[in-house]
């Protein structure tokens, strides 16, 4: 799956991809240099991965937004494309930027960084892309339907859209997603094809999963085992649905961690996800995996820190439901550690209307929009020991931001935020 031609077998073979008249017009430059470059990218990917044709996409989600990742050359590139006339043809949203574009000063983000970040967002705005910066677009109104073709980039959103919603997208790089937005199409290969959506691994989880963090840690372990495969989780008495935390949050934590430790862009859960009951959804040669314990994952991701000076919740971006729970917990309390709850601006606004964001801020926490800890210049904040409920965050924070991490449930993390140290004595799942 998704494998380019290998040496020997196909060298010299001429592949032809069917392009419509309009697509050919774009490729030949008749719709301007910007559309031509976009079509060159889409067509080249189709060629490389053996696509028969292109497929129109319903929406695009573009990574490559934070100045921390793009640098000045990235800005230059986006500006140049915008100047050539690049405009998107389908609804397009952005991944998180490197800073909260309204509250950056209070959060300690350096001004020069914010100015560069603004230049990035301006270039995207010129192309017709609003500054809706979120890694969870499905929480703020962009909910793809079963069978929709998309070109999304953010790995956790790609996996959520494919697996939980049954839409179809490959994991696009920043420029290839943007190219798809400018053409309104992507090449039909990989996960756009039914054949490639069949499971390559059957996973049986033999230990109980009690909290949203357990689902994330499971994702970390399975992602490492299956790489870019398509895992199928058998039901096995696991509470995939409900019991406290909603299925959405559990599956999202699983998706995000599997996409970080591996390159899982699609998974199925027996009886839960929409394609799990389809005939032949498990390949006959699928490998079996049994997970007896989450201990190996917890050991890798979580250090036994006592002092906690930073708490991060909202990776992927927090839902309104989470903000409401956090506001309830923090009522009448005050945090000692720096508490960041990252969310989409639209979600923050809804939480403001409900009074939850104010309640969190009254307790000393920050409801941070537009950004996330993985792409923000966290080095500038002067913090060292982080508590988080996200296995994905725990996977990235040590290498991206030089932080030590302790992993726990949302309540344990909030407790640590209030006390400035880890207090929970709960034993982990198994």
């Amino acid at each position: 799956m998704l494998r380019p031609y290998t040496r020997g077998s196909i060298i010299g073979r001429v592949t032809t991809m069917r392009l419509t008249q309009q697509e050919q017009k774009m490729l030949s430059g008749k719709e301007g240099p910007a559309a031509q470059k976009a079509m060159e990218i889409v067509a080249a990917l189709g060629k490389i991965y053996g696509a028969a044709d292109l497929v129109p996409v319903e929406s695009v989600q573009v990574a490559g937004v934070s100045y921390k990742n793009l640098g000045d050359a990235g800005i230059q590139f986006l500006r140049e494309w915008a100047r050539q006339g690049a405009r998107v043809r389908v609804p397009t949203l952005l991944n998180p930027a490197g800073a909260d574009m309204e509250n950056w000063h209070a959060l300690g983000i350096p001004e020069e960084f914010v100015l560069r970040q603004l230049e990035v967002l301006d270039a995207y705005a010129q192309m017709g892309i609003p500054a809706t910066c979120s890694c969870a677009p499905y929480l703020i109104g962009n909910v793809p339907r079963l069978g929709d073709h998309l070109a999304w980039s953010e790995s956790s959103a790609v996996s959520f859209a494919n697996s939980v919603l049954g839409a179809r997208t490959n994991r696009e790089g920043g420029p290839s997603a943007l190219a798809a937005a400018i053409c309104g199409r992507t090449a039909r290969y990989g996960l756009h094809l039914t054949e490639n959506r069949r499971a390559t691994h059957v996973v049986r989880v033999l230990c109980p999963l009690r909290t949203e963090v357990d689902f994330g840690v499971l994702g970390y372990i399975v992602g490492k085992r299956v790489g870019s495969g398509v895992p199928y989780f058998s039901r096995n008495g696991i509470a995939w649905n409900g019991e406290g935390v909603s299925a959405t949050l559990r599956l999202r934590a699983l998706a995000a961690a599997m996409a970080a430790s591996g390159a899982v862009a699609l998974f199925h859960v027996q009886g839960v996800t929409p394609e799990s009951e389809l005939d032949g959804i498990i390949r006959p040669d699928a490998q079996e995996i049994e997970i007896e314990s989450l201990e190996e994952g917890y050991e890798k991701l979580s250090a036994p820190l006592r002092r906690i000076d930073f708490v991060s919740i909202g990776c992927p971006h927090a839902s309104l439901e989470e903000l409401s729970d956090i506001a309830k917990y923090l009522a009448g309390r005050r945090v000692r550690a720096t508490l960041w709850i990252t969310t989409a601006r639209a979600t923050r606004e809804r939480a403001m209307a409900a009074g939850w964001a104010q309640a969190i801020e009254k307790a000393g926490g920050h409801v941070v929009s537009d950004t996330c800890l993985v792409v923000a210049p966290v080095e500038a904040l002067g913090v060292r020991n982080m508590a988080t409920n996200s296995a994905k965050m725990a996977f990235y924070a040590p290498s991206h931001s030089g932080l030590q991490v302790r992993l726990g449930t949302m309540t344990e993390c909030l407790e640590a935020a209030v006390e400035g140290r880890w207090v929970s004595r709960r034993r982990r799942a198994c």
């Binding site: 060298i11 590139f77 290839s176």
Partner: protein, 139 residues
């Protein structure tokens, strides 16, 4: 002269000396975006610059942000003149297109040696052996 036919990923013409890597190249973290020098520890091309070369390697690897590194190399004037791959993948292909670097894949890299004079013209790659591969440095 050796004449190889590949598949065009980015249309273009180029003429220069070959720099051949038997190993894949990951541009993000693997190549210094300011100088074009390969910096990945243990890489066979470590310490050599890709600037102004016809760069031949099996394919790309690593982060998708690598596409932007190719753009940055071009922006700094230290990009390869052309890229030849055995089997290309998205990172390098997209990078070559946005950086305007002619690129051909399905080329048998093993038939080209570092120092060969190479002309790339669309899907055709002409290879002229003008220099023997340098003997490995002693010590």
């Amino acid at each position: 002269m050796l004449k190889l036919q590949g598949r065009v990923i980015k249309e273009g013409k180029a003429h220069g000396f070959a720099l051949v890597s038997p190993e894949p190249i990951g541009f993000l973290g693997g190549v210094d975006p300011e100088t074009g020098v390969v910096v990945e520890p243990g890489h066979p091309l470590r310490g050599q610059s890709v600037a102004g070369k016809v760069l031949a390697f099996p394919g790309g690897k690593g982060s998708t942000v690598g596409s932007y590194v190719l753009y940055r190399l071009a922006f700094k004037g230290v990009a390869p003149l052309a890229i030849l791959n055995e089997s290309s993948e998205a990172i390098v292909a997209v990078g070559a297109i946005i950086a305007n670097i002619p690129m051909v894949d399905q080329i048998e890299i093993g038939r080209i040696q570092t120092g060969d004079e190479v002309t790339v013209d669309g899907e055709w790659v002409m290879v002229q052996r003008v220099a023997r591969r340098k003997p490995p440095a002693s010590g």
